[in-house]
């Protein structure tokens, strides 16, 4: 099991910057997820780790080995492609055994018997024990997925790379396979890099999540931190739901005071240590819809006044859409709340649930001296940016 260290990676295709300034340490034995919308560079990053791309500049280390210039077949990674990439001209057994036949340990190769045993064990691990003789087209989607997993795991790789493995499966199967992957990963304690655009998936299986947008890693932290302390508007918006209210800063101290439309004020906290806020700076006050309450719970709760535009009953809650000045916002309230369109609404948001976020995205992160994206720094931090 190895730790993956990415230093200052950049990859372009002609004029298109696929990914840039990636500085991360993916810890040994943990499942790290690259999360982001289509085109954000997560698959590019995965393929850089796998060795199918050579970065424009930057280095990749497995533990202390510099693998940047190593071709894919020498990196000892096991990759599962999004479309499974199962060979149609071979049986399940031959698909899984392929890598074992090629593997050399100190100049020695595996015997036929050994290969057979290990393949059987791998197929048992993914619960496909008696399907070794079948051809690929005779398998269902979930079974194909498991063959791809078995094939990657049987060679005992240092790193397991999964490229959107569950996106071709239906909802129920997806959950089932998710559990399988988590079980296997923790049983074998293998460093895993997982690529997905589904934030539910990401939050539920990961030890660490790297949220990416337009080629940049905006935040790399554990799921709890990603959800409760997002550092940019993009991260806050991409994970879960978030209500954003534009405002300008009036005072900075232990907590930050922001002016919002309709002459209201809101007090919140920052999620980025060390960000240089300035008075008068335009920011967004972000609060999760479920943290907005109809009742004041603490004396220093923020009060927000708006006008209801729409209510939608979704069974376990009432989604309330309201306007604060020109800004559309959303709250998630008790399903029995008595609200209707046109009503004026008073909501309360506790101060430690209100996040004050700079509007710059990556540009803002560059101003933070301890962040990997800090302008002028080429070194990496020892822990994910906080």
């Amino acid at each position: 099991m190895v730790e993956i260290r990415l230093e200052n990676l950049r990859k372009t295709f002609g004029n298109i910057v696929a990914t840039d300034e990636v500085n991360m340490i993916l810890p040994e034995g943990e499942l790290s997820t690259l999360l982001g919308p289509s085109g954000c560079g997560k698959t590019t990053l995965l393929r850089l780790i796998a060795g199918f791309y050579v970065p424009d500049h930057g280095r990749i280390y497995f533990d202390d080995r510099d693998v940047t210039d190593l071709p894919p077949h020498k990196r000892n990674t096991g990759m599962c492609f999004q479309n499974y990439a199962l060979w149609p001209h071979m049986t399940v057994h031959d698909n899984v055994a392929y890598g074992m036949k090629l593997k050399r340990v100190e100049g020695m190769k595996y015997t036929e018997a050994a290969i057979h045993t290990r393949v059987s064990k791998a197929l048992d691990l993914v619960r496909l024990g008696d399907l070794g003789h079948r051809h690929i087209h005779q398998l269902s989607g979930g079974q194909q997925q498991r063959v791809a997993l078995a094939r990657a795991l049987v060679i005992e790789p240092d790193v397991l790379l999964l490229d959107e493995p569950l996106s071709n499966l239906d909802a129920k199967l997806r959950i089932e396979m998710r559990e399988e992957i988590i079980r296997i990963q923790s049983e074998m304690s293998i460093t895993t890099v997982y690529v997905t655009h589904d934030q539910h998936e990401a939050l539920s299986i990961s030890d660490g999540v790297a949220v990416m947008d337009k080629g940049y890693v905006q935040q790399f932290a554990n799921p709890r931190e990603i959800y409760s302390d997002p550092q940019t508007v993009f991260v806050a918006d991409f994970i879960g739901q978030c209500t954003f209210i534009d405002g300008t800063i009036t005072s900075i101290g232990d907590s930050i005071r922001v002016n919002i439309p309709n002459n209201q004020q809101i007090v919140g906290h920052t999620t980025i240590d060390g960000y240089p806020f300035q008075i008068g700076e335009a920011v967004k006050a972000a609060v999760r819809p479920e943290d907005l309450n109809l009742q004041r719970e603490r004396p220093n709760d923020n009060e927000i006044v708006g006008q209801v535009t729409r209510t939608i009953y979704v069974g376990n809650a009432l989604e309330v859409y309201f306007m604060v000045g020109d800004i559309a916002a959303e709250a998630l309230l008790d399903p029995d709340s008595n609200l209707k369109e046109g009503d004026s609404i008073h909501l309360f948001a506790p101060q430690d649930e209100v996040m004050i976020l700079p509007v710059g995205g990556v540009e803002s992160l560059r101003k933070v001296s301890s962040h990997p994206l800090y302008l002028g720094s080429s070194s990496i931090t020892d822990e994910p940016n906080a």
Binding site: F52, P72, H73, A85, W87, H89, T111
Partner: protein, 686 residues
């Protein structure tokens, strides 16, 4: 003991380890990989042969079931037809069926009937085959009844060493074995050359690649006949190859001559490799790249990757090309005719059929139809094999989603240099047919040892204008081709439309019928025309014009059908449905919506049909010899070549006619390549 090993997991693991690993030795790997590939090859052939039986059986059962309950079955079929067809479609279907019945099925059936009939009694008999197999030109083992002994006639002098030269000709085992082994060797070389070039073009990017690709397009339409004319002069003792490599560059220790079957193998390999190239190229390009990436990820590179993943996945396409090459080689008439001065070349099945007409009399040597059956059997088997596996033509990998990261690697300048060192001789070889014909047509007097002729001249081209027979034949040929193409477009689009859009009973058989002419030997069709129609109003003596046109129509039908079919497949049915929804009838929709959308594909297909008609050899030569005044260009090319006239140089003048055909081919291929791209099915008609 167990206690100990349990408490020390490291020791246990190590034991386990040592049991599993054995030294990795190159010899072992080599032996095991050879053994496994030959095993797999053998198993594959056996599986295919075994699969053939049940498939034929199923087809027969289907036909038999029709007869089991003819009454209700007929009604069912009739109702289905009525539902699917309207007046226009019925007319189209009928027209295609009538044409094919009259000019393909009946002639072939008559050949079969003729060859199995004893002419003196009119009863079915095998007498023609007996005669065939007792002719030592055809079959080497003959049984002499008078001496009760088997005699074996064969010429095994393959390599003849002279004082300063070495002559390679093939073994002569009689026409049947000759044609078969020639076809096998030709297929082997074609696959080798075609797959190699296809792989380079598909997987590597290098300086000047687009030039190479353009250059490789030209051999695609080349007919062996034209190329043979040029190669024959190149290969002689005073030909370019010897002058270049022996006299000038001193690379050869001896002068090299290829004669007889060896020459035929040489010519055909160079003419047919492009079929395999085209099929292999489109197969390589359609392999999902993630399948190769996954193999790389697991440790495979280079030749291991090629052998275990790339090549097996491209196999169906390559096999289709290889089978077609085999069939075309066995039925090729043009090349043996060019080399007919060598006795060996005459001992080929195609030439023997041609010979049975050469007398020009009312009767034909019944050997012809008998040989025709043999060719027909080969052709049909091959064709059905291709079509049977056309469905599995490319492995349906069933992969959805993910990216398609095309695996084209840019190679370094140094490697590009070595690549060109290999490519340039290969390309020279691949283009010898074209180069030689062009050079020959412009060549002035050629001294015996110089590489290039002493002067270049245009005077050979006078053959096109100053000899009325030749000039007339050119005009006739273009006319025949044009008429045939018009018929093909009308009937071919109809056939394609019926196959693509209508679900009539027997659709697969219809599809097989209209695409079969690719594989069916032209010489057998010509034989059939003769047997059936000679001296009838359809084919008056000395007037084969009508049948020539119909032969072109039927034989070059598949190209337009395939092209139109490809066009229809890429035109969603919903476009036609939308038209009908707003009020247009089926005919109006066909004219206003469908035709314009597939028009470009049909144009490409019709150009291919035209140019193939104009350079068609087998039926042109045979039917032409029965009516030289109306004969097409290819017939007169042969006449010019084998004449010993004093007023013109025969080989050079023939080459001029060849250049004319090639020029037309090159124009068409450039245009169709733009339109159809690399879709091999449309270009080769399978």
């Amino acid at each position: 003991m167990r206690e100990d090993s349990k408490t020390d997991p490291l020791i246990e693991a190590k034991d386990e380890f040592e049991d599993e690993l054995i030294p990795d030795r190159f010899q072992d790997n080599l032996i095991s990989s050879l053994a496994s590939s030959s095993r797999r090859f053998g198993r594959g052939i056996v599986a295919k042969m075994r699969g053939f039986g049940p498939w034929l059986f199923k087809g027969a059962k289907g036909i038999a079931s029709f007869f089991r309950n003819p009454g209700s079955r007929a009604r069912e079929t009739y109702l289905k037809f009525r539902r699917e067809l309207d007046t226009l479609t019925t007319a189209q279907l009928a027209a295609v069926l009538v044409t094919f019945t009259l000019f393909l099925i009946l002639p072939l059936v008559s050949v079969v009937a003729y060859s199995f009939t004893d002419p003196s009694t009119g009863l079915p008999s095998l007498v023609h085959f007996q005669n065939l197999f007792s002719d030592s030109n055809i079959w080497p083992w003959t049984f002499d009844t008078s001496s009760q002994q088997w005699y074996f006639f064969a010429d095994t002098r393959t390599i003849i060493l002279g004082p300063t030269d070495i002559t390679i000709q093939g073994w002569d085992f009689g026409a049947i074995i000759n044609s078969i082994y020639t076809a096998i060797i030709v297929t082997f070389f074609s696959v080798l050359l075609g797959v190699f070039l296809a792989f380079i073009v598909a997987r590597y990017d290098f300086f000047g690649k687009s030039v190479i690709r353009t250059v490789l397009i030209f051999p695609i339409l080349a007919t062996p006949f034209v190329g043979a004319i040029g190669i024959k002069s190149f290969l002689g003792l005073n030909g370019l190859i010897n002058n270049l490599f022996y006299d000038t560059l001193h690379l050869f220790p001896l002068q090299l001559q290829l004669k007889g079957l060896a020459a035929i193998i040489f010519v055909q390999s160079l003419s047919f490799f492009s079929l395999v190239y085209l099929n292999a190229y489109s197969s390589f390009m359609s392999i999902d790249p993630s399948l190769e990436e996954q193999a790389e990820n697991l440790g495979a590179t280079g030749s291991k990757l090629f052998r275990s993943v790339t090549f097996p996945l491209a196999m169906p396409g390559i096999q289709a090309g290889a089978i077609l090459t085999f069939i075309l080689s066995i039925e090729d008439l043009g090349t043996p005719i060019v080399f007919q001065e060598d006795v060996q070349a005459k001992h080929t099945l195609a030439f023997q059929v041609f010979n049975s007409f050469a007398s020009g009399s009312l009767g034909i040597d019944p050997k012809g139809p008998a040989i025709g059956i043999i060719l027909l059997v080969f052709a049909l088997t091959g064709f059905l094999t291709i079509r049977k596996y056309a469905g599995v033509r490319s492995y349906e990998s069933g992969t959805k989603g993910g990216q398609w990261n095309a695996r084209v690697r840019r190679i370094s300048n140094r490697t590009t240099f070595f690549l060109y060192c290999l490519l340039i001789p290969l390309l020279f070889l691949a283009l010898i047919p074209q180069i030689s014909v062009i050079m020959l047509s412009f060549a002035g007097p050629w001294t015996s040892n110089s590489v290039l002729p002493t002067s270049w001249t245009l005077e050979h081209y006078s053959i096109l204008t100053t000899y009325p027979a030749v000039t007339q034949s050119i005009i006739y040929t273009l006319t025949y081709g044009a008429i045939a193409t018009v018929i093909i477009v009308l009937l071919g689009t109809s056939a394609a439309y019926i196959i693509a859009r209508r679900d009539i009973p027997g659709k697969t058989y219809f599809d097989l019928l209209v695409t079969s002419p690719i594989a069916l030997p032209g010489i057998v069709i010509a034989t059939g025309f003769f047997v059936l129609y000679y001296n009838t109003p359809v084919f008056p003596i000395d007037a084969p014009a009508f049948l020539i046109i119909m032969s072109y129509t039927v034989r070059k039908f598949p190209f337009t059908v395939r092209a139109a079919y490809a066009g229809l497949q890429s035109t969603p049915v919903v476009l036609e449905e939308a038209s009908q929804n707003v009020g247009a009838s089926k005919n109006q929709t066909f004219a206003k919506i469908t035709m314009p959308l597939i028009g470009v594909s049909v144009l490409a297909g019709s150009l291919l049909s035209f140019v193939y008609s104009v350079s068609e050899v087998s039926t042109s030569l045979i039917l032409g010899s029965l009516g030289p005044e109306q004969a097409p260009m290819t017939y007169w090319t042969k006449e010019v070549l084998s004449s010993h006239s004093s007023s013109y140089a025969s080989a050079n003048s023939a080459a001029c006619l060849g250049v004319l055909m090639m020029a037309m081919q090159m124009v068409v291929i450039t245009v169709t390549n733009k339109i159809l791209g690399a879709r091999s099915s449309a270009m080769t008609g399978i």
